[in-house]
Subunit: 151 residues, 2 copies
DNA sequence: AGCATGTATCTCGCTGAGCGAGAGAATACG
DNA sequence: CGTATTCTCTCGCTCAGCGAGATACATGCT
C-alpha cells in the first residue's frame, strides 16, 4: 500500500474520507434520534437558510433522491421533531415552504461545530499557498464527480 | 460565498464532495438493484480481497455499523445476487468466510472504473508537488475525522 | 370565460432493511 | 469436563421509502 502510485493513493484517500465523514454523520444522527436521511435533509435546509433560498418539499426530495411519498414522510418526521415548520406559499398556494426552527440550527452547530473547529485547526499546519492548492484540487475532483453523475 | 475565507471554503468543499460521491454511489447502486449498504459492503469486501484479508459476517457488520441480524440479512442478499459465497472456516468452525465472486469484481470495476479514470485524468492538471500537497491535506483531514469519530 | 394540461403536495397500502432478543453450535479456559 | 465466551443465524417487529393515485392550485389554449 505504501508503494502505491500517488494518483491511486489519492483516489483511495478521497473514498476513505467520504466513508469517515459518512460514519461520523451516521453516528451523530443515531445519537440524536435521527436517520442519515434526516441529517442530510437538515444540512440541505441549513445551507439554503444561510443562502436565503426557499426550500419546498419538492426541491428537498429531489436533492436527496426521494420520491414525493418519501419526502412527505421525511418532512413529517422533521416537523414532529420540531426542527422545521411548514408554511403555505402565499404566491403559489400549491407550494409549501420549509422553515428551519431554532432547534435545527442548534443541532447543526452541535454536529458541525466541533468537527469544523478541529478541521480548521488542522489546516493551520498548512501554508496559504498549500491551502490554495488543496482548494483547487478539491474543486477539480468535485467537478469530475458531479459531471460523472450527470452522465 | 466567493468572499468566504479559505478554511471555511475548504470545509464546505469537503462536505460537498462527500455528498456528490454518496449520490454517485447511491445512483449506481439503484441502477444495479443494490442498496447503498450493499455497495458499501461490496467495497469493503473487494478492498479486503485485494489485501488478502479474510472477512467474516461479524467483521463486515462491524465495519458497516450493523448488528448481527442485519448483517445476516445483508450477506443473504449479496449471496442471493451471486456476488459472494459463504464458506465455513475449517480452522474455527463457528466462523464463516465471505468470498467474493467474479461478478462482484466486475461490478466493482463498473462502478469505479469510469470514475477513477476521470479522477486520475483530472489529476493530470496538477504537478507532482501539488499532488503531494493534496495528499498530505487529505491525510490530515481524514485523520481529524477519524479521531473525532473515536470521541 | 371554460376546459385541458401541468405542477406541488399529500394519502394509502405495501415491501423490505435493520433492530432487539435470544437460540444454536463451536471453541477456549478454568 | 463443565462453564463462559464467541460467532452466526432465526424470529418478530418497526418504520423509511416506493408506486399508484387523489387533491388542489395554476396556467395555457381557443
Amino acid at each position: 500500500m505504501e508503494s502505491e502510485r500517488t494518483p491511486m493513493r489519492l483516489v483511495h484517500l478521497l473514498r476513505g474520507l467520504t466513508v469517515e465523514l459518512d460514519l461520523f454523520g451516521a453516528e451523530f444522527a443515531a445519537r440524536n434520534g435521527l436517520h442519515p436521511t434526516d441529517l442530510r435533509a437538515l444540512i440541505h435546509l441549513l445551507d439554503a437558510a444561510r443562502a436565503g433560498t426557499v426550500v419546498t418539499p419538492g426541491r428537498l426530495g429531489e436533492a436527496l433522491g426521494l420520491n414525493s411519498a418519501g419526502t412527505t414522510g421525511l418532512v413529517d418526521r422533521l416537523e414532529r421533531l420540531g426542527l422545521i415548520r411548514r408554511e403555505r406559499d402565499p404566491g403559489d398556494r400549491r407550494k409549501v415552504r420549509l422553515l428551519v426552527e431554532e432547534r435545527a440550527i442548534e443541532l447543526g452547530e452541535g454536529f458541525f461545530g466541533g468537527l469544523i473547529a478541529d478541521l480548521v485547526a488542522a489546516m493551520g499546519a498548512f501554508g496559504e499557498a498549500e491551502l490554495a492548492v488543496a482548494q483547487r484540487f478539491l474543486e477539480s475532483m468535485t467537478e469530475v464527480v458531479a459531471t460523472a453523475r450527470a452522465e
